[in-house]
């Protein structure tokens, strides 16, 4: 993958229910309308949005049909339920026997739901591949709705450290000894300290032989593809942590959303990165033009007058919550631009995405990574 071909990346992160998926889709649509070739990646695919965009939830890059747009928009929405399978395929492309062993390992399958990060890793490997093959200018990544949404950028190195470290050697040896029913307690090589003999003994006593042998087999196979694994994850890490990546934190005017953004900003700081911008959804300050036109008009029916009052009260409480949210964010995240988006009164997801894309068109420079092009 040549440096020149690597796309800009916008990672959208935020808590649950703040409209992150919709905002990410709108950003990608706005970029595509501007003529930028864009890929939208949804880590936690919402079937409703996928359906609305005419995209399937698969590991393949799918073109999004765009009426009257110059640029092109593609989507990648990998299915989380298949990610362990895909992961095994990514690792053992050339070694079908090891792949079959891995997919038959009870421990590996047991990780299916619990192993947060594997799905993200798989998705990022797919992104890295798509970026290398396609000619995308921008990749927009919609992360899982969680405070730990960006932790996955460190997961590759964590797993690689595990596979590259002494743990695997130890585990593989442990499994062998368990299979041969050799009493544990003596380390097989100078690599392992005396203390580990004790730990091994205690662990085997507590967990029983099944766990030990499955763990050993699993890591034995994984250790073989260590280099391939590190290679795979390096591309993902380059994309996510390089200078061409920007982080947009998304919130709604709620205390929970705001605190999630502040938490994520701290996590970014620890990674040596900072938030490019914060997007506040449902943060319209002014009444909509139609409401202003109708306000105070005589001769409206009582039902219309009441509806207008109810809508305006809602908007006013959203606005004051958004103001408070913006003030709090501004206090803690100095210098980070805030992008306020209005509440969209529509029910079809594609209508909401299109309306938000209109709003974002003038704000693209604020959200894209600040790299000279």
């Amino acid at each position: 993958m040549s440096k020149a071909a690597s796309p800009m990346v916008v990672v959208c992160a935020g808590g649950g229910g703040v409209g992150k998926t919709t905002t990410s889709a709108a950003l990608a649509l706005a970029l595509a309308r501007k003529g930028r070739s864009t890929l939208i990646v949804t880590i936690d695919p919402a079937r409703r949005l996928a359906g609305a965009m005419g995209v399937a939830i698969t590991d393949e890059v799918t073109r999004v049909p765009l009426p009257a747009a110059r640029g092109n928009l593609a989507a990648l929405m990998p299915d989380p339920r298949r990610s362990l399978h895909t992961f095994a395929e990514q690792l053992f492309e050339d070694e079908p026997a090891a792949k079959a062993r891995l997919l038959g390992n009870r421990l590996y399958l047991g990780l299916a739901d619990a192993a947060a990060g594997v799905h993200e890793l798989v998705a990022m490997n797919l992104v890295a591949r798509a970026a290398a093959q396609g000619s995308f200018e921008v990749v927009v990544i919609d992360t899982a709705p969680s405070r730990h949404a960006i932790d996955f950028v460190t997961y590759p190195s964590r797993l690689a450290a595990l596979l590259g470290g002494r743990t695997v050697t130890w585990l593989a040896g442990l499994a062998q000894r368990a299979a041969l029913d050799v009493p544990s307690g003596k380390a097989p090589s100078g690599l392992l300290s005396w203390g580990t003999g004790h730990v091994e003994h205690l662990l085997a006593r507590v967990t029983g032989p099944n766990l030990v042998s499955d763990t050993g087999a699993l890591f034995g196979d994984l250790a073989v593809v260590r280099e391939r694994f590190v290679d795979l994850t390096q591309h993902a890490a380059d994309l996510l942590l390089g200078p061409r990546a920007a982080y947009a934190l998304v919130t709604a005017p709620t205390a929970a959303g705001r605190d999630d953004v502040l938490y994520l900003a701290k996590r970014l700081e620890k990674l040596g990165r900072s938030a490019r911008a914060v997007v506040i959804n449902r943060a319209d300050t002014q009444p909509a033009p139609y409401a202003r036109a109708l306000a105070g008009e005589r001769g409206l029916s009582p039902a219309i007058t009441l509806a207008l009052t109810m809508l305006d009260e809602e908007r006013a409480s959203r606005a004051s919550a958004a103001d408070a949210c913006a003030a709090e964010l501004g206090k803690h995240l100095r210098g980070v631009p805030l992008v306020r988006l209005p509440y969209i009164e529509a029910i079809a997801p594609e209508a909401v995405v299109a309306a938000l894309a209109d709003e974002l068109t003038s704000q693209l420079a604020t959200l894209l990574p600040a790299v000279s092009r």
Partner: protein
């Protein structure tokens, strides 16, 4: 024990905190258990923390607490957990963390019999996986102290009569579909029954004639026609939202789950407000 489940962003923590406040009001005291850093629970409980004991379970502490009886002493547990080879393994093996967090919940409940424990579970998918861990562990391990730990959690926590499941959802068709899938998964994979579904953010209806009036005004031409047309579009979207809410509630009712409804508020409602709404629905 009340285990509160649901997908992310549905208001699970607020509902769980409100339920804890209600329990404290009704029975004198309650324990509210949260996984994580405690911040969201504290915020959700604000103004309603009277007689509610807020317990925050952090992964590292839970591991130590769960491992101590297994290894005989705190020192031995520290020795094993702090070992150079174990550290990266534990970081990469999440099921162990989940098991230890469940064990701590079990210990909390065992220490205070008779006090209601409300647990704010992790978001959907993860929460069923969590509750499945003890059974998986039992089947997988066959024997040994870790097997016994799984077995104990299975008997004392993930067992009918020990824990009630409450699922929080939103009145939207696809969220409801996911919720019904979650309920089926809970029953199938944990053997627990879903006690109650709480539908959060049920939209308030706009005045009934407003949509027709706005449409008539738009069709009548005149200077306000364009604005009235836009208002009609907004009201039509609201009507569709309400209709979807009604249809969702009907779909849920067909599945024979008890339902409580909590109305949509334009901004964060307090735990006190939510507790009041839940009481009106028959909770507490």
């Amino acid at each position: 024990m009340l285990l509160v489940m649901g997908k992310g962003g549905v208001g699970k923590t607020t509902i769980a905190a409100s339920l804890a406040a209600l329990e404290a009001e009704t029975r004198g005291e309650a324990i509210f258990v949260e996984f994580g850093d405690g911040e969201s629970g504290r915020r959700a409980l604000a103004g309603a923390q009277r007689n509610v004991k807020h317990v925050v379970i952090r992964p590292a502490d839970a591991l130590q607490r769960a491992a101590t009886p297994l290894f005989g002493s705190t020192t031995m547990a520290r020795l094993v957990l702090g070992n150079f080879a174990m550290k990266p393994l534990l970081r990469a093996a999440p099921a162990i963390r989940e098991l230890s967090m469940l064990e701590v919940v079990r210990q909390i409940a065992a220490d205070r019999p008779g006090v209601r424990v409300v647990v704010d579970m992790p978001a959907t998918g993860h929460s069923v996986a969590w509750l499945r861990v003890p059974k998986q562990g039992r089947d997988f391990l066959g024997a040994g102290p870790l097997f016994e730990l799984c077995d104990r959690i299975g008997r004392e926590l993930v067992a009918p009569g020990k824990a009630s499941i409450l699922v929080v959802t939103l009145p939207e068709r696809l969220v409801i579909e996911e919720t019904l899938e979650l309920c089926a998964a809970v029953v199938r994979e944990t053997g627990l029954a879903v006690d109650r579904i709480i539908v959060n953010r049920v939209p308030v209806s706009m005045p009934r004639e407003a949509l027709d009036d706005a449409r008539a005004l738009a069709e009548g031409g005149g200077p306000l026609a364009a604005a009235a047309g836009e208002l009609a579009a907004v009201l039509a979207a609201r009507a569709a939202l309400s209709a979807e809410g009604v249809a969702s509630l009907e779909a849920l009712a067909r599945h024979d789950h008890g339902i409580w409804r909590v109305p949509l508020a334009p901004v964060d409602p307090s735990a006190k407000d939510v507790a009041r709404w839940l009481r009106a629905e028959g909770a507490g």
